[in-house]
């Protein structure tokens, strides 16, 4: 009797047993951020991430990051991280002496709905963070 009930509950199981590709864990995300900040604690502010809240397709998500809260010369580097892709790193921009405004854009892959994290490292060593939640739906027709 118990086994029958257990088997009946197994109807939904194939979805749970489905193999999923490796996902970044919160520890992996923290480690990736740490490798960029060198362990400097993150402070909220100074950055702005521009990304659609509901993306058309997770394969190609346009993202821009600006640092309106700091003069260009103050910003040494900007890095983008994600919460749920197999790897936490997305891109890291290191500015040189000929860099202008610290506004960067790229197009990224987001495997699923998740949080996007941007970190700016300033010349004075401080690190600033902004996080944005992005909704990603799977395409109805894959291929």
């Amino acid at each position: 009797m118990r086994r029958r009930r257990w088997l009946a509950s197994a109807v939904g199981w194939p979805l749970v047993l489905q193999l999923r590709p490796a996902q970044a864990t919160p520890e992996a995300l923290a480690a990736a951020i740490r490798s960029f900040t060198g362990g400097t604690p993150l402070r909220e502010g100074k950055l702005r991430i521009e990304v659609a809240t509901l993306v058309d397709n997770g394969n190609t998500v346009p993202v821009s990051v600006r640092v309106p809260g700091a003069a260009p010369a103050e910003v040494a580097a900007i890095a983008l991280f994600n919460e749920r892709n197999p790897q936490s790193d997305v891109a890291r921009f290191h500015f040189g002496p000929r860099a202008g405004l610290r506004t960067v854009s790229t197009r990224i892959r987001l495997a699923t709905s998740q949080q996007l994290v941007a970190v700016a490292r300033l010349a004075d060593g401080s690190c600033w963070v902004q996080r944005v939640d992005v909704v990603v739906t799977l395409a109805a027709c894959i291929e």
Partner: protein, 256 residues
């Protein structure tokens, strides 16, 4: 010569004249996209499809084959000679004696005139040429030729569009006529107007043809996709071009 042939075939097809005037409630797939994807299409510096257009321009000018001829050898500057060509395809091909889409027209011309045999792995080259020629019609209204010889094929295309197929038992019309504007999964269902092909599809992360999109959609309803280059696919393309007549060409479009 061609003009006389056109006169003989009749310049106005009665079946076309009786249909709903173009522009009534029709919207391009562009309107169903988010702002950032629209921006990607609008700006040639942002549009990844332009990478293939650049390739196409190079191929247009590159001499090939024993005779060392290029498309430019006969057609000169594509900006002038190819203007409006993509907007008029599919068209009745006098050599094949049936409708042919732009890709088939380009391949046929290259085989006969350059001449050069189609090679395996030429997919990207074909697409690049198609994108380059397509670009020369950008902004022009889709203008399916009023050629009576196309009528029976177009009607077959319409029948295909309205036929339920696959395990999901859906026709193109079921989603793209009846349910356009609503959502399938998280994605808006567009009206399915073929104004921007070949498109840079974000799902493909590359440029692809209308045939690829149609086959993908057929797989999506779990139907056996029509074979590449099959007459049925061209008939469907023919009907779709008529269905989108008057709408501006957007090649190379960006789509989710």
């Amino acid at each position: 010569m061609r003009f006389r042939a056109l006169l003989l075939t009749g310049l106005v097809a009665p079946a076309l004249a009786s249909a709903q005037p173009p522009g009534e409630g029709r919207r391009s797939g562009f309107d169903f996209m988010g702002a950032s994807t629209q921006a990607m299409q609008r700006d040639d510096a942002l549009n990844p499809g332009m990478l293939w257009v650049l390739e196409g321009e190079q191929l247009w000018n590159r001499p090939v084959g024993a005779a060392g001829r290029s498309c430019a050898s006969c057609h000169g500057n594509a900006r002038e000679s190819m203007r409006g060509v993509a907007a008029r395809h599919p068209a009745f091909d006098h050599v094949l004696q049936r409708p042919a889409d732009l890709r088939q027209r380009i391949a046929s011309c290259r085989q006969r005139q350059l001449p050069v045999l189609p090679m395996p792995g030429e997919e990207q080259a074909q697409l690049s040429l198609e994108a380059f020629v397509g670009l020369q019609s950008r902004g022009l209204p889709l203008a399916p030729p009023p050629d009576m010889r196309l009528e029976p094929y177009r009607e077959r295309g319409r029948a295909l569009f309205e036929q339920r197929i696959g395990q999901l038992d859906l026709s193109c019309a079921d989603c793209h006529d009846q349910q356009a504007g609503r959502r399938l999964g998280g994605s808006p269902i567009p009206q399915g107007h073929t104004t921007g092909y070949p498109i840079y599809r974000l799902e493909w992360q590359g440029l692809g043809s209308l045939q690829r999109r149609l086959r993908a959609c057929m797989s999506g309803v779990r139907a056996e996709p029509l074979a590449w280059g099959s007459p049925e696919l061209v008939e469907l393309e023919l009907y779709l071009a008529w269905r989108a007549r008057g709408m501006p060409v957007e090649t190379p479009a960006v789509r989710p």
